[in-house]
């Protein structure tokens, strides 16, 4: 499903965010991406979305080398990827409902599908009552849940989640993780960047650890950290 081959990415400012990373993730896997702040987790996710292109190395997603994708095909790549962004990236002028509905409208789902599916997903993340609020009128955790809802509303092949529980209390976090687990069981590949040691340790799934941009650990049924 995903293959990184000696991928290196440096930002203009000179920071090497990802250094010579090679990684294979199969279809249907559930992977935690861990590492200290600034270790390159978000950058890895941005590379998968082709929000950035690698300086060196190659990346395949669903059998395609995405650096070679022509610009007009990028949207179609992204439609197969649901993403929970670390900073949410909600559309500030759209209501909760519209934000989630947008991911369906983009792929041309008819109105009645949108009308039935969105409220269902919002209920799943516990925001049924907030459907007409604007993002600015939500608490941090509520915004994060909207982002989660938007990411999987269109049943993507690949679900990327960058710190999806950073603003959530442990109970809600567990709810979200159960949800992601359930989605994973339907065949969706799930990659989660997280700092939440409790959840990683509890779920016992594959753990990939980055440190200063380098892949330092890749462990089946892993835990958050060795010592911490």
């Amino acid at each position: 499903m995903i293959r990184f081959e000696n991928v290196t990415k440096a930002y203009k400012a000179g920071t090497v965010a990802v250094r010579d990373v090679s990684l294979d993730i199969d279809k249907g896997e559930f992977v935690f991406l861990v590492g200290p702040s600034g270790s390159g987790k978000t950058t890895l996710i941005r590379l998968l979305l082709r929000e950035e292109t690698p300086d060196q190395g190659r990346i395949w997603v669903a059998g395609r080398e995405i650096a070679r994708l022509s610009p007009w095909r990028i949207p179609y790549l992204r439609r197969n990827i649901g993403c929970v962004f670390q900073d949410f990236r909600l559309l500030p002028n759209k209501s909760v409902f519209e934000n989630v509905a947008f991911a369906l409208e983009v792929i041309g789902r008819p109105r009645h599908v949108v009308e039935s599916q969105v409220p269902q997903v919002l209920d799943l993340v516990g925001l049924g009552k907030k459907r007409d609020s604007l993002p600015g009128e939500l608490s941090g955790g509520e915004q994060q849940r909207v982002a989660v809802a938007r990411a999987f509303v269109n049943r993507p092949l690949l679900l990327l989640a960058d710190e999806p529980t950073g603003n959530l209390d442990p109970a809600t976090s567990q709810g979200i993780m159960k949800l992601l687990d359930r989605i994973n069981r339907t065949g969706t590949t799930v990659v989660i960047a997280t700092h939440d040691a409790g959840i990683v340790d509890q779920m016992r799934r594959r753990v990939v650890e980055l440190h200063r941009g380098e892949l330092v650990r890749d462990q089946e049924r892993g835990v958050y950290g060795y010592g911490t």
């Binding site: 992204r78 990236r89 002028n93 991911a103």
Partner: protein, 299 residues
């Protein structure tokens, strides 16, 4: 593409409403800019109208030699000359004025002491010819010189024509240049405003892209927003233009001597201006949005 009409309509409407400030700013800019263009075009038409009015006043006066006998009651013969004259290039129509008529007019025009030295016999009869092209007066005068019985000198208001032509040309040029400058300025200002408005929403555009929206899916609602703003602004401009036209017409009233009366512009030409303004509004709105959003669409 596959952008549904319903999606575009809803998107356009809600975005216009939720970005009220920017909507109003854009409409205002279009309205002000295009109003200036409209008014300037209108004034230019007015000048053109006035010019064509004034041009009716340009005559070439052909004096006949008083020593050559001419019929005092010119009928068929006069008609022939008339035809001959009228066939000359640039000559529109000619009217004959007999010696007696010219004498009467001279007496009216000159002060008595000067008039007292004139008599019917010494006053030349004349043809007064209206030209289709006043600037050609000199050429026409030359042509007349060969005609039978025509006095050596053909009079035409040389200095007056020159001055009037200069004024008209300058005014026409001024208003044309003004209209063009205003149009360019309007384009710059409107594009500017749209760019700023889209700049304020660049994050929104980037999020849409990340969720997998195609460029057209993002662009079309923006373009429709631009069109609506352009149309609304142009509508205001059209009202201002029509309003100004009405006001000028009103003040022109029926005072034949006033300059405004000369400047009255017929409705069809005003309509042309209005249509032009409206089209500019739509085009600039749509194109402006499309161009303004372009750099935020490049990934």
């Amino acid at each position: 593409m596959a952008v549904s009409a319903q999606y575009v309509a809803r998107e356009t409407a809600t975005n216009l409403w939720r970005n009220r400030l920017m909507t109003i700013a854009a409409i205002l800019t279009v309205a002000v800019s295009l109003s200036l263009v409209g008014v300037s075009l209108l004034l230019r038409q007015g000048v053109a109208q006035a010019t064509s009015q004034w041009q009716h006043g340009v005559n070439v006066l052909v004096f006949l030699d008083p020593t050559t006998p001419v019929p005092t009651t010119p009928t068929a013969q006069q008609h022939t000359i008339d035809q001959q004259l009228t066939q000359l290039p640039y000559v529109k129509s000619c009217t004959y004025s007999s010696q007696a008529a010219d004498y009467a007019q001279a007496k009216r025009l000159l002060d008595p002491s000067a008039a007292s030295v004139l008599s019917v016999a010494t006053t030349p009869a004349s043809w007064r010819c209206v030209l289709s092209q006043p600037s050609e007066a000199a050429a026409v005068a030359r042509q007349f010189t060969g005609f039978p019985g025509v006095d050596g000198q053909v009079q035409y208001p040389q200095k007056a024509i020159r001055t009037m032509e200069t004024v008209v040309h300058v005014l026409d040029a001024v208003f044309l240049v003004l209209a063009v400058i205003l149009l360019l300025s309007a384009a710059v200002l409107i594009l500017n405003t749209i760019r700023l408005a889209i700049f304020a929403r660049r994050r929104e555009v980037s999020v849409m892209k990340l969720v997998g929206a195609t460029n057209w899916f993002i662009r079309i609602p923006f373009m429709f927003e631009g069109i609506v703003q352009g149309v609304a602004g142009a509508a205001v401009a059209v009202l201002v233009t029509i309003g100004l036209h009405a006001v000028l017409d009103h003040f022109a009233g029926h005072d034949v001597n006033s300059l405004l009366y000369d400047m009255r512009t017929p409705a069809p030409e005003v309509a042309m201006t209005v249509v032009l303004v409206a089209v500019i509004g739509v085009v600039i709105g749509a194109a402006g949005s499309a161009i303004g959003i372009r750099r935020f669409l490049d990934s």
